[in-house]
């Protein structure tokens, strides 16, 4: 085995894995406050990426990314307010179907707005061929951007949930919605906020990853499935574990190319998902006792 090739695969796996983790964290935020799996989570990533690419034509990149994130957050809020907020204790089946519907509509609108073309932001620094050599391994600077920004996002989120009152309110809502309401916390606003947050995180992921993976109107679904796999792998609702699970999945997927044709890369990660669901639905880091208390 060639050490350099090995490292390249490892880095590629790491990059994708971190992106999957970010999508998974988006899933977890909404799941924690509402108990809903938002099947349209991948669409936030797509909208973020696409909007940023379009805005980049009119403004400098940092501004374009910031604007794209804010626009996606607004879209997230709108989706929650229009489709979710006013439903009184909807069944899980109903919520699944509604979010699937939202994902389809979003994709179709994106198709009409942006057509089928594949787009990408330019590399944040350097070009596609620039590379930094670290210990003999050539790494694209974009990878460093991805890793850096994602780490920052995770840290900021962690701080937000642990130390701010708003974050605590959200955690209270996810722990026990009625008890939170009895403390005077508006559960409905927390739900909207969770959509806004996860839309923003998804959009940011879409922006920073687009130079490497490109975005297209339908790139959301694939990412959503991977993100969900990671979320389940780490134990639904557990964002810290999602990071570890994401890296595991990314690396596995990356090395699977050695034994399988690239076309089956997706099939690999989905098989992992199915396997995990069958064998250990609480996730590899999840605890069985806690899962048995959850209603599915």
């Amino acid at each position: 085995m060639n050490i350099e090739l090995f490292s390249q695969y490892l880095v590629a796996g790491l990059t994708y894995g971190i992106i999957y983790s970010i999508v998974a964290i988006g899933f977890n935020i909404i799941y924690n406050t509402t108990g809903i799996i938002n099947f349209a989570q991948g669409e936030f990533v797509m909208i973020g990426g696409m909007t940023a690419v379009t805005l980049y034509n009119f403004m400098p990149m940092p501004l374009a990314i910031a604007a794209a994130v804010i626009i996606t957050m607004i879209i997230g809020a709108l989706i929650e307010i229009v489709f979710i907020r006013w439903l009184v204790s909807p069944s899980v089946l109903r919520m699944i179907i509604i979010t699937i519907g939202i994902s389809i509509i979003t994709r179709e609108i994106a198709l009409h707005v942006w057509d089928e073309k594949v787009r990408a932001l330019p590399y944040f620094t350097g070009t596609a061929v620039t590379s930094i050599s670290i210990g003999g391994v050539h790494i694209s600077p974009q990878v460093i951007w991805v890793v850096g920004i994602c780490t920052l996002v995770v840290l900021v989120l962690n701080f937000f949930f642990s130390y701010t009152l708003l974050g605590k309110q959200m955690r209270a809502c996810s722990s026990n919605r009625n008890a939170a309401r009895l403390c005077g916390i508006s559960a409905k606003n927390m739900v909207t906020l969770s959509f806004v947050l996860s839309a923003g995180i998804g959009a940011l992921a879409g922006c920073i990853v687009s130079p490497i993976t490109y975005v297209q109107y339908d790139s959301g679904t694939g990412l959503a499935i991977k993100g969900f796999t990671v979320a389940v792998l780490g134990g639904l609702g557990n964002s810290m574990a999602a990071v570890a699970a994401g890296i595991i999945l990314g690396v596995l997927e990356s090395f699977s190319i050695w034994i399988m044709p690239t076309a089956f890369k997706d099939a690999i990660s989905i098989s992992i998902l199915l396997l995990i669901l069958f064998v250990r639905p609480g996730g590899i880091f999840g605890n069985k006792e806690a899962l048995s208390l959850k209603e599915f």
């Binding site: 799996i37 389809i104 599915f296």
Partner: protein, 357 residues
């Protein structure tokens, strides 16, 4: 109860015949092509209605079963076995009369599996896969079940899209006609259009008879009880996991049969038949029809597929299905064609509907 069931089937048969006569009279028999295709899609939908509405389980992977049926049949009836004609296996098959010789479009000689054999094989394979997948999948609930079935669908999609044996993005074509009986063949050729319309609808009528019998039987009652409360059903001696699994397999067979027939009718199959969007579309139609409502599913299945196939939705095809899904789930989660709603209208006595899973 039994009488209404017979009446419903009778009305269906009369409608099928009158539509054919009507198209003949108005010289619009080109509609029959889409009506035939819609009929096959409806088979998938009524099967799925059994799973979703009666057993209360969601499946966002039913296009996978349709594709397994269609692709297996297409593969076996188009894969040329001539190069292996001297191998013992092929010799045995050929001795047993399971193979047929024919020529393809370019006049090359082909030795392929007989459509009947391929059809049966396709269904057997579907049953095996449905059992293997259904066993663990149906232990899951809610989001996990939805994601697992979705994952299954995507795996099938990726496999047919990524394997050269299944023609990758082009799919498989040049699938021969399927002679059910001498003189009765499933094919999209013009001269047999009317015949095929009746073949397809005979299958739908048969499917409806079987399923409406089933839902009105002891099993149907048990399925509804599972939907109502798994615990209570279990306590009454209903083996819930077995019933869920059997229902799942049965609906997979309906999907596979539809896949086989439609592939022979169209002369080919492409990966889009296995796509997630197709599965979602089936779910949408079942939801619109009102979940536990076979007739609603059938009517909506034929109507929406027909409109879609005729191109009425244009480039908005998928968007329209997505939109319908949301609107139905937001405002009428029990479907548009619920008999209770009609009954309620008759009584003109407004009641608040209660949420049902």
């Amino acid at each position: 109860m039994k009488k209404t069931r017979h009446l419903q089937i009778l009305i269906l048969i009369v409608t099928v015949i009158s539509i054919q006569l009507l198209t003949q009279a108005t010289d619009t028999s080109y509609y029959l092509t889409q009506l035939t295709m819609s009929a096959y899609y409806s088979l998938v939908i009524i099967g799925l209605s059994l799973v979703m509405g009666y057993a209360g389980q969601i499946s966002i992977g039913h296009a996978g079963f349709f594709a397994i049926g269609g692709y297996m049949s297409a593969l076996l009836t188009t894969h040329n076995l001539l190069p292996y004609k001297d191998s013992t296996f092929v010799l045995i098959l050929s001795k047993a009369g399971l193979l047929v010789s024919r020529q393809d479009l370019y006049g090359t000689d082909l030795l392929t599996v007989h459509p009947w054999v391929s059809c049966i094989l396709a269904i057997v394979i579907t049953i095996v896969i449905a059992y293997v997948i259904g066993g663990p999948v149906l232990k899951l609930k809610g989001h996990y079940l939805a994601m697992a079935t979705l994952g299954f669908g995507i795996i099938i999609f990726r496999i047919v899209l990524g394997s050269s044996i299944f023609g990758e993005a082009d799919g498989l074509s040049d699938v021969p006609a399927f002679a059910l009986l001498p003189g009765i063949e499933v094919s999209g050729k013009m001269p047999v259009r009317v015949l095929n319309y009746y073949i397809a609808w005979t299958m739908v009528v048969t499917g409806m008879v079987l399923l409406s019998n089933l839902v009105n039987s002891r099993i149907g009652r048990a399925l509804r009880s599972i939907h109502g409360s798994e615990d209570a059903a279990n306590a009454m001696g209903v083996n819930i996991s077995k019933y869920k699994l059997h229902t799942f397999v049965l609906s997979a067979v309906f999907a596979a049969v539809a896949g086989v027939m439609l592939t022979h009718y169209n002369g080919g199959i492409g990966p889009s038949e296995a796509s997630v969007m197709k599965s979602v579309r089936y779910v949408a139609i079942v939801a619109i029809g009102g979940m536990a409502n076979l007739w609603g599913a059938l009517i909506m299945g034929v109507l929406l597929n027909f409109l879609s196939l005729r191109g009425y939705f244009g480039s908005m095809d998928d968007a329209i299905f997505g939109g319908i899904l949301i609107i139905i789930m937001l405002f009428a989660p029990n479907g548009l064609l619920r008999l209770e709603i009609l009954g309620r209208l008759k009584k003109a006595k407004p009641k608040t509907g209660t949420e049902q899973a």
